[in-house]
């Protein structure tokens, strides 16, 4: 995909720091030297085209007292579809990816309370008969978002 230079400028400058003020665009418009209407219009278009998945705040679920983990399991090829269906049926499973490894199914579990994680894992293990590896993050090495286009 070929991006217009102004789209690129918006993406590179606005992956954070959108002002929390009554007129947030004014400051940005001066900073980027693009009129307010044009910034809004370009973000709207990039969102509808799917270049941007969203515009707004990114929330950190764990800081709100919820539980979050990455879990993995090893599924025999002939049971893959069945197990996918069981695991995806859990509302608490937000993402699920097939990966090319002996541990071939990786999913993110998000629950309202930290204790909820183990309960969901117990239920998945009971329903699938498989061992689930619970790999919560112990430390995060962050990284301001720095995705340059």
């Amino acid at each position: 995909m070929i991006l217009h230079s102004l789209d690129r400028k918006i993406i590179n400058h606005l992956q954070g720091g959108f002002p929390l003020t009554e007129n947030p665009w004014d400051h940005l418009s001066r900073q980027l030297d693009i009129p307010v209407d044009e910034i809004i219009c370009r973000i709207g278009r990039m969102t509808s085209e799917g270049v941007l998945s969203r515009f707004g705040p990114i929330y950190n679920a764990e800081k709100m007292g919820g539980g979050l983990t990455l879990a993995a399991t090893r599924v025999e090829p002939d049971r893959y579809e069945e197990v996918t269906e069981i695991i995806n049926a859990f509302d608490e499973v937000a993402h699920n990816y097939a990966r090319d490894h002996e541990l071939n199914m990786w999913f993110v579990i998000a629950t309202e309370t930290p204790e909820g994680i183990q309960q969901v894992i117990d239920r998945i293990e009971a329903q699938t008969g498989l061992k689930v590896f619970n790999m919560p993050k112990q430390e995060e090495y962050f990284l301001e978002l720095k995705f340059e286009v």
Partner: protein, 169 residues
């Protein structure tokens, strides 16, 4: 202070109004001239209250950041590899920060090992336009880690089975 007490002080207690603001904005802000005014109007709140609460949530880390969220895939970064590394425990903090600071690594976490099946304790998500580009970038990480890397693998995603995004109450 015990670990539990510490964890509790780090968790800011959001109230019902904060939850309303989260529910109204987690799919995005309105693309209008005054987006926070529109959120306030929708929730029957004063805009100053919305701004104050969101500022408070940002200061506490409940809001990580506010801005545009690019779609890697649409921008041509069609390959993502989860690189996993076996790093000595005493080195992981220093080396985790090093790997996390690389511009092609989007997430970098320490996670528990499960011996003997799973010896890896450092996870770094690497994005590239092709598999080969991801492999080349993982090689860069390997050379940076040198002897502290006791083994690594790249797990490419072969299929998205579910993707709903995190939703809060």
């Amino acid at each position: 202070m015990t670990a539990i007490q510490l964890a509790m002080t780090e968790t800011y207690e959001i109230d019902a109004i904060d939850r309303q603001i989260i529910a109204a904005t987690q799919r995005g802000l309105p693309l209008s001239n005054q987006p926070y005014h529109d959120v306030a109007k929708q929730l029957n709140l004063d805009v100053k209250d919305v701004l104050l609460r969101m500022q408070n949530m940002q200061d506490k880390g409940i809001i990580r950041r506010i801005g545009v969220i690019p779609n890697h895939y649409k921008l041509g970064y069609k390959s993502n590899g989860m690189s996993v590394w076996n790093i000595p425990e005493e080195k992981i903090s220093e080396l985790g920060q090093l790997v996390g600071s690389l511009d092609f690594v989007s997430h970098c976490y320490q996670r528990p090992r499960f011996l003997p099946e799973w010896p890896y304790n450092l996870f770094a998500m690497v994005h590239g336009k092709t598999h080969d580009e991801v492999i080349a970038k993982v090689d860069v990480i390997a050379s940076l880690l040198g002897n502290n890397n006791r083994g690594h693998e790249i797990l490419f995603s072969t299929k998205i089975l579910k993707k709903t995004g995190l939703r809060i109450g």
